[in-house]
């Protein structure tokens, strides 16, 4: 029962980016982690706890990586304020665990000295000791401890038991404020003196880094290698995910069928089968793609390649007013804009981040593919171009390119509109290459999947319920001649907004389908099926619908809808995640507004030109 008598301790982990802090956090807390946001800002708050051998509970807070307490950006501000005990929701931590990369003490020690100046109880965790040994770096731990006046403990965050000494020390020793009074000495000189006295260092960098950077950042080979890697990632995302996606679709389809078969026909049955099961399934189906994508992003991140990709692309992106760091969020957005917007957290400059969030929906997400597939099959003749290329495939490729080009133009316009013209910083550390650690990969994947699920389920469920109500009530009269949806609110709205969309060639059927299509873009396909009263399995609907659409719509209308879907402003989940990440309805409004305006303009031009050409 002694556990009850020992007071719990709260510790925070601080350190430079790339010091292995998150791996240490994973090592300490395992899967017992909670990820939330600090109040009012979009800085991630990662918390966990563990029980020390004495039975004491130790609460751990993993603070964002920082180079200095002279904070730049929201991440570093939070780190500074928590260390100084100024964040009410956290309180002053009992112990600050300053984590330093043992292979890069020259940079890391400066921040340690800055933290030490705060005069709070702290320990130094010398992390990555295994890598330091391998590189022949010798650290005199006692000497270092004496010079710093704080306990120094060695850790290997990626090995089992690598944090044992740290846990023991926090559990059994009473940790006090640093024994050395702050001086006014130049901090760089102090670091140099400490390194000279306590550290021996055979060479400046790992050879392997020089060799890998020589190839991967080569001005000639660097970009082709990046392109090849991205090609492999995309192949994997789209090819590997297919069986899993089919499985999920099958499962939800089966569940909906079971409900239809075994529940009495009526409103409740329709609600459970259509709104709950099919609605949530229509978004969950993207989970395999998103997980595979996240897996690759995590591998690239952990290995140290990701900042290199940003390095290669920075100048190109800067011309459009973006940063090299925007590359990954935009890449993710090809699977789905939700993880893409979430991934913008790695962009430190707030203006760059907002621009990236704004253009993320222009990357053709996989939810648009079913719509493209339907329209291309219905309106684009299948023929060979230059003997080898499929014309339909080229059109699809063109739609992707159109999205990317519009994104670059929008980013460029945003750059012109900025009031603060000071150039954004790149100033990015390229860490040493590392082999990704499976445990950290698994935890990272688990965490991101969890965030995705929590983010979407609430929104999707609410949106689907609302849309179901709109599409179901009022109900069709007994002697109805039109499909039931025609009599519903959705039908009324479709008819009411039809005049707005007439100039761009949309029929009222399309207008109705756009409304349920707000839950997820590809739902528009099944909604069109409903409007044209086609029922049956999904494949049957798609086939029949293709024939119906080809027969009933003009070529101009088909092209116009294709152009609309390049911008497709009507994804509620994307808008919801933008709201969460920016904490601003105004920004959501701007994004939705400009997407809508561009979609309308593009459709109008496409419709008018096609009509002129086809007569």
């Amino acid at each position: 029962m002694s556990g009850l008598l020992i007071a719990p301790i709260s510790i925070v982990l601080v350190g430079n980016p790339n010091c292995g802090k998150t791996a240490l956090f994973n090592q300490l807390t395992g899967a017992r982690q909670k990820v939330a946001n600090f109040a009012g800002v979009t800085v991630e708050r990662k918390e966990g706890s563990f029980t020390a051998p004495s039975g004491r509970t130790i609460k751990v807070l993993d603070l964002p990586g920082a180079y200095s307490l002279d904070a730049l950006g929201p991440d570093e501000i939070i780190t500074r304020d928590v260390c100084m005990g100024k964040v009410a929701e956290v309180g002053a931590p009992d112990v600050i665990v300053c984590v330093a990369d043992a292979t890069n003490l020259r940079l890391n020690l400066r921040f340690v000295l800055e933290i030490r100046k705060l005069g709070r109880p702290m320990v130094l965790a010398l992390n990555m000791m295994d890598a330091a040994h391998k590189r022949g770096i010798h650290i005199d731990q006692d000497r270092l401890q004496a010079l710093l006046g704080i306990p120094v403990i060695q850790t290997v965050a990626i090995a089992g038991g690598g944090a044992k000494h740290l846990i023991e020390h926090i559990d059994t020793q009473s940790i006090e404020a640093p024994k050395i009074a702050p001086t006014e000495r130049d901090v760089h000189l102090e670091v140099r003196d400490i390194l000279n006295a306590a550290v021996t260092m055979p060479s400046f960098t790992a050879k392997i880094d020089d060799q890998l950077d020589g190839v991967l950042l080569n001005p000639v080979f660097g970009l082709p290698i990046l392109a090849l890697l991205m090609f492999v990632v995309f192949q994997a995302v789209f090819a590997w995910a297919t069986p899993l996606m089919d499985g999920i679709e099958g499962l939800f389809g089966w569940a909906a069928e079971m409900v239809r078969a075994h529940m009495p026909e009526g409103l409740l049955q329709s609600f459970i089968a259509d709104a709950m099961i099919s609605g949530v399934g229509s978004v969950l189906v993207f989970l395999p793609q998103i997980l595979i994508l996240f897996f690759f992003i995590l591998v690239l991140e952990e290995s140290g390649y990701l900042p290199r990709a940003a390095f290669l692309l920075d100048t190109l992106m800067a011309r459009a007013g973006l940063t090299g760091r925007a590359f990954i969020p935009l890449l993710s957005s090809f699977a789905c804009a939700i993880p893409g917007v979430m991934a913008t957290r790695s962009i430190h400059d707030i203006r760059d981040r907002l621009t990236t969030i704004m253009i993320a929906p222009l990357m053709t997400c996989s939810a648009r593919l079913p719509v493209y597939a339907l329209l291309i099959a219905a309106f684009i003749p299948e023929r060979q171009v230059w003997g080898v290329l499929s014309f339909q495939g080229l059109v699809l490729f063109g739609l992707y390119i159109a999205g990317i080009l519009s994104a670059l133009i929008v980013a460029w316009v945003m750059k012109l509109l900025r009031t603060d013209k000071s150039p954004a910083m790149l100033l990015m550390e390229l860490p040493s290459y590392r082999l990704p650690n499976p445990r950290n990969l698994a935890l990272g994947l688990w965490e991101r999947a969890g965030i995705f699920m929590r983010r979407i389920t609430g929104v999707i469920f609410a949106a689907n319920t609302l849309l179901w109500v709109l599409a179901t009530f009022p109900r069709a009269p007994a002697n109805a001649t039109q499909p039931a949806i025609d009599y519903s609110f959705a039908g009324m709205i479709g008819h009411a907004i039809e005049p707005i969309f007439r100039p761009i060639g949309f029929t009222w059927e399309i207008c109705i389908a756009l409304i349920p299509g707000m839950a997820a873009r590809e739902v528009a396909v099944s909604a069109l099926g409903t409007v044209y009263a086609i029922s049956g399995s999904e494949d049957a609907v798609a086939n029949q619908l293709q024939a119906t659409v080809a027969a009933q719509w003009s070529l101009a209308t088909g092209f116009s809808l294709l152009a609309w879907y390049i911008f497709a402003p009507q994804c509620l989940s994307t808008l919801a995640v933008i709201r969460r990440e920016t904490n601003s309805w105004k920004f959501v409004g701007i994004t939705a507004g400009y997407l809508f305006a561009l979609a309308y303009l593009a459709s109008f031009l496409t419709y008018s030109v096609t009509k002129m050409v086809t007569g």
Binding site: H188, T205, D213, P307, A310, L430
Partner: protein, 78 residues
Amino acid sequence: MKLSDLPLHSAAIVVDVADLSADDRVGRRLRELGFVVDEPVKVVAKGPFGAEPLLIQIGFTRFALRRAEADRVQVRTA
């Protein structure tokens, strides 16, 4: 000479890191990252477009800097 004019892989020493404005956060941050007088420095890679950004080795760390950022750092060849 300016750090941004330093040829690839040639060893140099930092002479000065000048602020370009009164409250130059890039200059401040560069000094915090270790760009201080007498520190050995070299350019280890250049980006594929317009030889930008620069990959700078300072101490044990590599930083990607845009040319405009690196312009604050004056070096002499070692």
